[in-house]
Amino acid sequence: MTRQIELSNVQKYYGAYHALRSISLDIDEGEFVALVGPSGCGKSTLLRTIAGLEGISSGDLHIAGERVNDRAPRERDLAMVFQSYALYPHMTVRRNLTYSLRLQRRSRAEQAKAVEEIARITGLEGLLDRYPRELSGGQRQRVAMGRAIIREPKAFLFDEPLSNLDAALRVHMRSEVRQLHNRLGATSVYVTHDQIEAMTMADKVVVMRTGVIEQVGAPLDLYDRPANRFVAGFIGSPAMNFVPGIVQDGGTVALDLPGRPVLRFNGHRPAGEPVTVGLRPEHLELGDGPLTLPVGFVERTGSTSYVLTATDPELMISTPARFPDGRAEVTLSIDPANVHLFSDDTGAALLH
């Protein structure tokens, strides 16, 4: 596979504010990469840096092997889909779609053919002569996508393109965008603050926090082997439980919970080390086990029951079983492979 986008040691300052800190990232041709992280962590800044809408303070950016640091956006041959869609309000859908082709002075026949194909792919047939103000949110979103793909660019950049849609449409468009990516064999960089979007759509997820890349990996790698406490807490829903604990002899850890329960884990850590233990709600199994905790609160959605324990810190347990009413205590077990340990000092994962 060839590298399509390569960032090496990119720094970005807004005045004194250090928005991107030593970003290094390789994106292969045909790959779907999601940039995910909490609001304000620099995802959009990174995307706009790749696009050329923001300059970089130092470091190198290569696209298709060429250094493009000093190239204008239009010389980079990338297409972007904006969160606001940024459709041209004074142009019909057809003219929105053909804008880039008209700038390239392509022939009318060529434009018409391209529009027809894009309209078919994006389901915009019959809407071509409308103005953006005459379209629904979902339709505008499709026009924005169509305007990007009509150009056949080197890569697509998406900045939270689905966040203005209602929940049902968002889930639907998720798979549609991904299918479109597969069909075009395109390279896509997709910014989102929604980890579910990142996990379900991407080949590779980049987790960011305050201008730093915390971890890069395949979605399930991030879930199974988070590099640190931040990634562990950010990936997965509901979020991982964190409990203070002390490592004991023989690969076990004592939790700072009522009764000081002891859990086994896979791996080796020195006894006496203070750690943070990470336990995913869906990995805590009801039934016989070392943990017996008082029940605080139960939520049921029909498919899943969420049990919150009356402890400090409280634990969340999610289970497909119907949790009965009126139970005062819950007994839990967990597979040692699913016990995560994080350093109290650095937050780094200690077991892998």
Partner: protein, 300 residues
């Protein structure tokens, strides 16, 4: 009585009063003089018949008279030049400044404030300032040009027949630029930044973005500025009074000033009315274009 008070405070009574007030104002101060003016343009009016309504109708005699005068054509051309050049230059300079002030630089708002000076000053004061700048013998402009070595002798800006009209035009452009700049700034600020970014990603150069995004999205504002500018320029009277009085020998005269001269200096009131009627017709046409362009804005 109570019922009346209720309809007045809660019902349609109050609305009716408001509408009547506005309508009454229009009738007394706009419609009546307008109609009176039109009637006078078909009558023989002199100083003695000015006060009575009972004046002889002369059909189109006044129209034939005034349009047949030798100076009519010169003054017409002057008016066209005055309006055309003023509006075009005000628009271009105002648009340029508006785009300039869209840029983010230190001192931006302070400098922008300075440009509004021309707007808040009465035109007569502006006229006095410009007559001082343009004066032939000890004017500021001549002094500057001479000391920079750009000209070898004084130019008589206000009394040279080739210069007088353009001198008034320059003053009028200066007067109209702030208005254009403000209206166009508002329009420019209303174009979202991300649309420019989308166009940039789509491959548009700076010039292409201006012609494919800025200009078409400013259509309503441009229409408004052009038609309002035309109307304001046709109303420009003070500058002529302050600078040239239409002279020398009508070289800088325009319809609005001529109409006033005919009516109130030579007391040919019927003939003077003809000019104002013709100007009113033209202004109504321009106003119609303006209304259309603002309507397009509501749709967009």
């Amino acid at each position: 009585m109570l019922r009346f008070r209720n309809t007045f405070t809660d019902g349609v009574g109050f609305d009716t009063v408001l509408v009547m007030l506005a309508l009454g104002y229009l009738v007394v101060f706009s419609a009546y003089p307008l109609v009176y003016n039109i009637i006078m343009s078909f009558q023989e009016v002199d100083l003695f018949s000015l006060a009575s309504f009972d004046r002889p109708f002369v059909g189109l005699d006044n129209y034939r008279d005034v349009l047949g005068r030798p100076e009519a054509w010169t003054i017409f051309l002057n008016t066209v030049k005055f309006v055309g050049i003023s509006v075009a230059a005000q628009l271009t300079i105002g648009f340029g400044l508006a785009m300039f002030f869209q840029l983010d630089f230190p001192g931006n708002s302070w400098l922008r404030g300075l440009f509004l000076a021309g707007w808040i000053m009465p035109a007569l004061v502006v006229g006095a300032v410009w007559s001082w700048i343009l004066a032939g013998d000890f004017g500021v402009l001549n002094h500057a040009l001479l000391s920079l070595g750009l000209t070898s002798e004084r130019i008589f800006w206000l009394s040279d027949p080739d210069m007088a009209l353009y001198s008034v035009i320059i003053a009028n452009i200066w007067l109209g630029v702030p208005f254009n700049m403000i209206l166009l700034s508002v329009g420019l600020a209303g174009i979202p930044e991300d649309i420019y970014e989308a166009a940039e990603m789509d491959g548009a150069t700076r010039v292409q973005r201006f012609f494919t995004i800025t200009l078409p999205m400013m259509r309503a504002q441009l229409g408004a500025v052009i038609s309002l500018g035309t109307i304001f320029t046709l109303q420009q009277f003070d500058l002529f009074a302050a600078l040239t009085q239409g002279g020398p020998s009508n070289a800088s005269n325009v319809f609005q000033y001529w109409s006033w001269q005919l009516s109130f200096q030579y007391y040919e009131i019927g003939v003077g009315s003809v000019i104002s009627v013709l100007m009113i017709l033209f202004v109504i046409l321009v106003a119609a274009i303006y209304v259309r362009s603002t309507r397009a804005e509501h749709v967009a």
